[in-house]
């Protein structure tokens, strides 16, 4: 009878706190619809990995999956094939200058990198934390893993949580740095028709360019663009459908559950976790500021005025960010439609965030 309750004496208060955190993540996923595909498995995994004397981690099933799929960056890269197959670069290709806003909106990453070093983090940990600003879960995982950051669990949870909070974080920041007059600027949609040849050549060209300039970004960009190529080539409908649904869902299940291996109480319950959550917010805020201010800068030299709000859509959180901008524009003027422009900027942000991840790895390494 005693052996039935023997494990109870192994419970620590830290583990109980982690069960509560796991429960909160599951609650946020189910009740608040916050990135449920990732936060639910992460929350459940956090509970599993913090059971006393559990056999999930180390040589157990989750530990084995971690070694097989995350420590070698395989799962996030496979997920990128699915994401690439889901992205329609049409709005961006029809108005390619929108790409530049994607670049500007990565400012939050580099600003957060400096802030993190001022808060006492090492350069590699600061680089891992800053990539939360990419607003791209798989990129965050790859970069944090690349630097072997001991804050891997906190970084991943922060990345996915803030992605879901984009509709709450961005509107007050945009309002703070734009005037009503600027928010009312109307933009004619200058979309041109894009030939299928361009849609096919685009992922190939980007992979080559990114691979040449930032070799560390080659796997990230390459897998993302491979997914997009099978979507656009027109002869691999079955593979494209599989990548978008079956592959993406399967990898997401394994990825979410496995991330929790790095959420053991001893690693997660530190003051640094709170600092990382704060820095993640800083990253998202300064991404938004970077994109909006770049649009304002262009307005100084351009005859055709740009609504600076579209700059805020240059983060990778798709389609939340473009929807936020579209809704804000409609709120100011119910006849001002910015969805297509914002969507173009948003997919530009997806490319730019992956490249930014590669550049961080190249420059800091």
């Amino acid at each position: 009878m005693g052996s039935l309750f023997a494990n109870f004496s192994n419970i620590t208060w830290q583990q109980i706190v982690m069960w509560i955190i796991g429960g909160v993540l599951i609650w946020l996923a189910i009740k608040k619809d916050m990135e449920p595909t990732l936060l639910l498995p992460i929350g459940f995994g956090a509970i599993l990995c913090n059971l006393p004397a559990n056999t999930f981690i180390g040589e157990g099933p989750l530990g084995t999956l971690f070694k097989a799929g995350i420590s070698n960056e395989l799962f996030p890269l496979l997920l990128f094939i699915g994401i690439g197959a889901m992205i329609d670069f049409g709005p961006l290709l029809s108005n390619p200058k929108l790409l530049l806003f994607g670049a500007a909106a990565q400012f939050g990453i580099f600003f957060t990198l400096s802030m993190a070093t001022l808060m006492g983090f090492s350069l590699t940990d600061a680089a891992s934390i800053s990539i939360i600003g990419a607003a791209d879960g798989p990129t965050s995982i790859v970069v944090a893993d690349f630097f072997g950051s001991k804050y891997f669990g906190a970084i991943t949870v922060a990345a996915y949580s803030y992605m879901a909070l984009v509709p709450i974080i961005q509107p007050p920041v945009i309002k703070l740095i734009t005037t009503k007059k600027e928010r009312l600027i109307r933009m004619d949609y200058e979309g041109h028709e894009v030939s299928q040849t361009v849609k096919i050549l685009f992922p190939i060209a980007i992979s080559v360019i990114a691979g040449l300039f930032a070799p560390q970004s080659a796997p990230l960009v390459g897998f993302l663009m491979f997914g997009n190529l099978i979507r656009e080539c027109g002869v691999l409908r079955g593979l494209s459908d599989t990548a978008q649904s079956v592959l993406a869902n399967l990898v997401t299940i394994l990825l979410g559950l496995t991330i929790a291996v790095r959420m053991e109480a001893s690693e997660f319950l530190q003051i640094q976790t709170l600092m990382i959550l704060a820095l993640g917010l800083v990253a998202f805020v300064f991404d938004t500021i970077g994109g909006v201010m770049f649009a304002k800068l262009l307005n100084l030299f351009s005859k055709k005025k740009i609504n600076p709000m579209i700059g805020a859509a240059g983060i990778s959180a798709f389609p939340m960010s473009s929807r936020v901008v579209h809704k804000m524009a409609l709120k100011e003027d119910p006849t001002n439609f910015l969805l297509m422009q914002a969507a173009g900027v948003n997919v530009g942000g997806q490319i730019a965030s992956v490249i930014a991840g590669g550049l961080i790895m190249t420059l800091v390494h």
Partner: protein
């Protein structure tokens, strides 16, 4: 800490510069591709 901060400023400078250079090259590449592979406009029917 100061050493890390200075290094981070260097990464910020080259990171932002790098990202604009790469995105700029991609932009030029897309514009060139758009001009080479224009969509064919359907021929207008001749009036009878």
């Amino acid at each position: 800490m100061l050493e890390n901060f200075i290094a981070s400023l260097w990464v910020m400078l080259w990171g932002m510069l790098g990202i604009f250079i790469i995105i700029g090259i991609i932009f030029i590449c897309v514009v060139v591709m758009q001009n080479i592979f224009k969509t064919k406009k359907p021929k207008e029917d001749k009036a009878d």
